[in-house]
């Protein structure tokens, strides 16, 4: 094996081992920033030794032991942390070099990783900071990769991560899996971050860095990890289901010219059937657990589309009922607008128009071009062409997307 090959193999090992390594170290040193530094130190030692002697049988355990020895050195130099030193020394003494393979997947490790996810997604951090820190610590992405995926300069991300670690250290947060009443809110914060990462990738257009699209894969992977660690949480399975089903359409949602293709116009033979199956299975798990939260409901809507072999087969009655349930859980004019579209497909434009009229003055939708666009479409179908034309023109003036603008202008012209 050449040195270069060895380095690449070691880096791949690090990607596999880093999350559990950082999680296990954070439990001992109680500082994610320090834990990450120790993990990287251990990687540097591995790069030197493994290139010469080959990769050990249990590389994860090797990295962990090496990192803990480094931590011990660090605390010996830093007398302020005497108590931590005791804990750590005990931890290393009781550590075995070659752990029982059954033990490596035990609850303690799972708890550490779950605690790390909850810490990285702590609500004291801004959603952007949570996303960057999660991708860095659990996804194992470099700051450069994160920066390119989010289309921001690398120093911005680097600084965001440094600040986030400092905030966490200063807040002195306990490193644990939240229990009781706190848990739901903290879990919602984790799910929000994963969905934010996913959507950042999902909104990428053709021609943009492929790394952006990889954010979808990364969010999915994090979601699957979380589902393994917290299998009793229906919303986790709901989010995984939602992401799997949405990701199944990635190949179908952009035309050869890069223009977005709407869901109902997509070539369904290009949908990834394996992701759909996985998504439907995750949704079933969520529903078996009694899930009726926002992610489960959104996944159920996505599943209705995924199950329809042709756009004409879509079960719009179920979709409008699901949107009604979603609007009851999370009141939002955007959800109402989506419900109106589903109701129009299920029961006709006359039933849907009052739903749109009821949200016409919602402050959140003031510059939302889809509101006049949907209203125009309903009026057009009802034969009220003059009113429809005015709505399409209003919508065309609101959108910044040139393709959409052209489409709306042509629809306005159709009304005359």
């Amino acid at each position: 094996m050449s040195t270069n090959d060895a380095h690449r193999a070691i880096e791949a090992t690090y990607r596999i081992e880093a999350p559990r390594l950082i999680a296990g170290l954070t439990r001992v040193v109680r500082d994610v920033g320090l834990a990450e530094e120790l993990a990287q130190d251990a990687l540097l030692v591995a790069l030197r030794q493994w290139a010469e002697n080959g990769v050990p049988n249990n590389p994860g355990a090797w990295l962990m032991t090496t990192a803990k020895r480094r931590a011990l050195d660090y605390f010996r130099r830093n007398k302020m942390a005497a108590r931590k030193l005791d804990i750590l020394a005990y931890d290393i003494e009781t550590d075995t070099e070659e752990p029982d393979p059954d033990k490596s997947l035990d609850d303690e490790y799972g708890d550490d990783l779950l605690s790390l996810i909850f810490t990285a997604c702590h609500p004291v951090l801004s959603p952007d900071a949570r996303a960057a820190l999660t991708l860095r610590l659990i996804g194992g992405l470099t700051t450069d990769e994160i920066a390119r995926a989010f289309l921001v300069p690398e120093p911005t991300i680097a600084q965001r991560i440094v600040r986030a670690k400092r905030t966490l250290a200063e807040a002195g947060m306990p490193f644990e899996v939240p229990r009781g009443s706190d848990r739901d809110e903290r879990l919602a914060s984790v799910l929000e971050v994963l969905y934010l990462i996913f959507n950042e990738g999902y909104s990428a257009t053709a021609g943009e860095s492929w790394l952006r699209r990889e954010l979808c894969d990364e969010a999915l992977r994090l979601g699957r990890i979380l589902a393994g660690l917290a299998p009793r949480e229906p919303e986790v399975h709901g989010l995984v289901a939602l992401m799997e089903i949405q990701a199944s359409r990635l190949a179908a949602r952009l035309g050869p010219d890069g223009a977005p293709i709407l869901l109902l116009d997509q070539d369904r033979s290009r949908w990834d059937q394996m992701l759909i199956r996985r998504g439907l299975a995750a949704l079933e798990r969520a529903q078996r657990l009694g899930g009726t939260g926002p992610y489960v409901l959104q996944a159920a809507i996505a599943a209705c589309h995924a199950r329809a072999r042709r756009a004409d087969d879509t079960d719009w009655a179920t979709i409008s009922a699901l949107y009604a349930a979603l609007a009851a859980r999370v009141p939002s004019p955007v959800i109402e607008l989506n419900r109106a579209v589903a109701v129009s497909m299920a029961e006709g434009p006359a039933v849907a128009l009052p739903i749109v009229d009821a949200i016409a003055d919602a402050p959140g939708l003031k510059s939302y071009h889809l509101l006049p666009s949907v209203r125009g479409d309903l009026l057009f179908k009802l034969g009220r062409r003059e009113e429809a034309r005015r709505e399409f023109e209003r919508a065309a003036a609101m959108t910044r997307n040139e393709r959409e603008k052209a489409l709306l202008e042509s629809r306005a012209a159709e009304c005359v």
Partner: protein, 142 residues
């Protein structure tokens, strides 16, 4: 990116001999690791080729040959489909499979939409493919 880790057949797998309980347990632990790491998409074990068949097109006619097939080393006995970031990472997962003496695993990369850059495919080809899909992939009933 997706990779398939293909398990090659062995005289034992072709004879329909079930793996030892130790191996089954080790495989279970390995699968658990893949799941915990969030990389496992699918995994299946295949029965002996005696339970399958081969279909070949020759001079415009289809010939069906029932198994078993002789060339054990060329047969496959199962696979994992994983979603990882690089071939190196996929290789690391291959190395963690509980191997048996003489066992061979083949690693293959799966084609994805990203392998076909949008502008490398001509409009004409896309239209043709769309027509082909239209003609061949319509549900037979309904």
């Amino acid at each position: 990116m997706r990779f398939m880790m293909i398990v090659k057949a062995s005289p034992e797998s072709e004879a329909g001999i079930m793996p030892s309980s130790e191996l089954i347990a080790a495989m279970g632990r390995y699968n658990e690791q893949l799941i915990q790491a969030g990389v496992l998409l699918a995994a299946e074990g295949l029965q002996a080729s005696s339970q399958g068949a081969r279909v070949k097109m020759e001079r415009g006619k289809l010939t069906v040959t029932d198994g078993p097939f002789a060339e054990t080393k060329e047969l496959i006995a199962g696979f994992w489909l994983i979603d990882v970031k690089s071939k190196d990472e996929a290789l690391e997962w291959v190395k963690r499979i509980p191997f048996e003496e003489g066992q061979e695993i083949e690693l293959r990369k799966v084609f994805e939409a990203s392998d076909f850059p949008v502008d490398s495919v001509s409009e004409e080809h896309l239209a043709k493919e769309a027509a082909w899909r239209e003609a061949n992939q319509k549900p037979i009933t309904n």
